[in-house]
């Protein structure tokens, strides 16, 4: 119950016009400016005596506060002056003066020893050779898109699959390079020379750069007493990469919810569930990194929608955000809007329809911005229009480099949003749920010889013909590996 938090170390790397410096953030407040009174003293008249403030907000929390009227981009996104940000590993802040003639990059790294880092400056044309992407220019603007489907390129901390415009402050991260676009040139750091350990940063920090893998190894989930045990789920060994939205399919009573509960830790199963080598239990207890919307209602009905979401935010969001009332309220309003609950903010939860209650449940977990998001039938009672909005939100969560796993009884509704499918079928010989398929949705259709997910579920539910056991055997024979059939 009384735990001692291990303090994280953090560094701020300052890059300005070829010059490079490193600052360790070990105090609550460090002022960045050009004055000799500044804690972080930078050259340049344009910087001013007080440019920004960084510091440690808690044992494991760090923040950035802009206090000048300069232009600021954070991970490629333009932000207002006086912005306050809770810093995450590899956050990149570009600051420019009003005339766009001077600039400064602040690159935040977390939980590492101070590293030797060399930043190189190249032109855009040289950057084009370095980055594994197709480039083209149109109307004096540059556009990029990944060369291959398998290329995991993060632009502004999001995986891109389509053509994306490069603009000032855009950050790019590939397997070997991490860089930022400034006026006329590209600053980058070659990652290949760094140790692999550097990428084993805290989940929630690195995953946005495509390094997170959820490793699921369920040997057995049993129920019953010591004398009468029954196995209800067994032998599921798969890896899910960050940035994926995964559908969990299966016949009635196959073990879909049991599987999800076992992954989250709601139900104990033998085996291990890890994310980047870290047990999920650890992530759940220490990082608030998991969101779970179960089948049953988990919000108290004797309260209003707004209050329920507000309390969920107070429990889940970091203190740095809660101390900024504007940001805190913005997040709440954004969540209400995304879930189509803005008009119901003052309504009692008990007076809502079933679908609306479900959306409140999703919102209460969504507000925490979880790294891993699990949903058990979140679309029950939700109309198609609202379901579409919710699916888009879930897709955008996945696109931020997180993992979304969902059980639904209307899988064909959001068919375009899923990357992969897990099919759990009841092996009638062994009377327990097993993995019948894991892979892309296209491969799922060809594996099951069906054209839609609902047809797949129908064939699995057919009790007259034991297709379930046959598919389990078929998948086991293929032995496609932990990443499934792709």
């Amino acid at each position: 119950m009384l735990g001692i938090e291990k303090k994280k170390t953090a560094f701020l790397y300052c890059i300005a016009d070829g010059q490079f410096g490193t600052i360790k953030i070990d105090q609550k407040r460090l002022v960045i400016g050009n004055s000799h009174n500044s804690d972080i003293n930078l050259d340049g008249e344009w910087i001013g005596s007080k440019l920004a403030i960084v510091g440690r907000s808690s044992a494991n929390g760090f923040y950035f506060q802009s206090v000048s009227d300069k232009h600021i981009w954070i991970n490629g996104v333009y932000r207002d002056a006086n912005t306050h940000l809770e810093l995450r590993d590899r956050d990149c802040i570009l600051i420019m003066n009003k005339e766009f003639s001077n600039w400064l990059i602040l690159w935040f790294r977390l939980n590492i020893e101070e590293i030797e880092t060399k930043w190189t400056k190249v032109s855009y044309s040289e950057a084009a050779r370095l980055l594994p992407m197709k480039w083209h220019q149109h109307d004096k603007k540059w556009y990029i898109c990944p060369q291959f489907i398998d290329n995991r390129v993060f632009v502004n901390k999001q995986i891109i699959t389509d053509t994306t415009e490069i603009s000032l402050g855009t950050t790019v991260k590939t397997e070997s390079i991490c860089g930022i676009f400034t006026p006329g040139c590209f600053y980058y750091e070659a990652l290949a020379a760094q140790s692999a350990d550097e990428f084993n940063a805290e989940p929630g920090q690195v995953t946005s750069f495509g390094r997170g893998t959820l490793s699921i190894d369920i040997n057995e989930r049993t129920v019953g007493s010591f004398f009468k045990k029954r196995t209800i789920l067994r032998d599921i060994h798969i890896d899910i990469c960050s940035g994926q939205m995964v559908l969990i399919l299966g016949g009635s009573g196959a073990g879909k919810s049991t599987f999800m509960n076992a992954v989250i830790g709601y139900e104990k199963a033998s085996g291990s569930i890890t994310y980047e080598g870290r047990p999920l239990d650890d992530l759940r207890k220490n990082e608030n990194a998991i969101g779970f919307v179960p089948q049953d209602n988990i919000v108290r009905e004797g309260d209003t929608v707004g209050n329920a979401i507000r309390n969920a935010a107070q429990m889940k969001l970091p203190e740095t955000i809660q101390r900024d009332p504007a940001e805190f309220n913005r997040r709440i309003q954004h969540t209400l809007e995304i879930m189509g609950l803005k008009e119901k903010e003052k309504s009692m939860i008990s007076k809502l329809s079933g679908g609306e209650k479900k959306r409140v449940n999703v919102a209460a977990e969504y507000i925490g911005n979880p790294l891993l998001f699990f949903l058990d039938e979140p679309d029950t009672g939700v109309d198609p229009a609202q379901d579409e909005i919710m699916m888009r939100s879930l897709r955008s969560i996945a696109d931020e480099g997180k993992i979304v796993m969902m059980i639904t009884h209307t899988p064909d509704r959001g068919i375009d949003y899923y990357d992969k499918v897990i099919v759990i079928a009841k092996n009638r010989e062994k009377q327990c749920g097993e993995l019948a398929f894991f892979g892309t949705k296209e491969k799922a259709w060809s594996f099951f010889e069906r054209h839609s997910f609902e047809e797949i579920v129908k064939v699995l539910n057919d009790e007259k013909e034991d297709h379930s056991s046959a598919y389990v055997r078929k998948y086991q024979k293929l032995n496609p590996g932990r990443e499934g059939i792709q």
Partner: protein
């Protein structure tokens, strides 16, 4: 560790409980308290209570039982009804179970306070100055009633923490009530192990508190005239008002609250093991 602090969680859940008080109209529990108090008045003898010893003692026992009933009913279903939500919040939002229980206690303390005001006021209005005579009147009566209802309330919280469903809580509650009645030391003369058990009943200490508060020893004892009484004679030592005895009895009732609360937190630790 990314979690709201203990104090913050206490604040969140306390305010949540008070909001529910109004949104779900839980304040109607005060109406049931009033009904119970009025029912009591139907059976209490206005002419003899606070005049003769046995009638006073019997009446105070009835009031003590009513307070225990009120307290238990306040909270016996409060936690088990939202057990799934508590489990989810404990597992997913790092809810501190001790903060949750303390928030419940703060809320219940306020409810019990108003119930004590109501019950005490009914007693004072009905019996007027005959209630008792002390420097602290009527505050010591209100505090005694408050402590008694609150102690029973915390027992209800414990039952609710142990029970997995409201039905289970309502099944356990009558057994707890029976023990309070028969082990209070009022109906039966207790010896040996039963006497030891009675020392851990709220009813015994609540009864003592009310009797000391109302200075029952000042009333002349009457002879046991018939078998109908069946109650043993007064125990002067138990109800003596010397020194800070009332403060000691309040402390004992507070100790019940503390122990029941701690056990509730321990019981709720098992919430993660609940099965579907």
């Amino acid at each position: 560790m990314n979690r709201a602090s203990w104090i913050r969680q206490l604040g969140i859940y306390t305010w949540k409980s008070f909001r529910q008080l109004f949104y779900e109209k839980k304040w109607t529990v005060l109406i049931s308290t009033l009904v119970i108090d009025l029912l009591l008045l139907l059976v209490l003898n206005r002419d003899k209570m606070f005049v003769e010893y046995m009638d006073t003692r019997t009446g105070l026992f009835a009031i003590a039982c009513a307070c225990i009933w009120i307290g238990l009913f306040n909270s016996v279903q409060s936690i088990c009804r939202e057990r799934e939500t508590v489990k989810h919040e404990h597992m997913m939002s790092n809810l501190s179970l001790s903060a949750y229980i303390c928030a419940r206690l703060v809320y219940e303390a306020v409810i019990c306070f108003f119930e004590a005001i109501l019950t005490g006021s009914v007693m004072l209005l009905y019996f007027n100055e005959a209630v008792h005579n002390s420097i602290f009147a009527p505050f010591d009566l209100f505090i005694s009633l408050w402590m008694l209802i609150f102690a029973a309330d915390s027992c209800g919280i414990l039952i609710s923490s142990i029970s997995k469903t409201p039905e289970m809580a309502m099944t356990i509650m009558p057994f707890v009530l029976i023990v309070q009645l028969i082990m209070s030391g009022f109906i039966f003369e207790l010896k040996g192990i039963t006497k030891a058990v009675s020392m851990i009943t709220i009813s015994k200490w609540g009864m003592r508190t009310l009797c000391v508060c109302c200075k029952i020893n000042q009333y002349p004892p009457e002879e046991i005239k018939s078998y109908e009484y069946g109650i043993y004679h007064q125990n002067i030592a138990e109800y003596s008002t010397g020194g800070a005895r009332i403060f000691f009895l309040w402390f004992v009732l507070l100790l019940f609250v503390t122990i029941f609360s701690a056990l509730s937190v321990l019981a709720l630790q098992f919430v993660d093991k609940d099965k579907r």
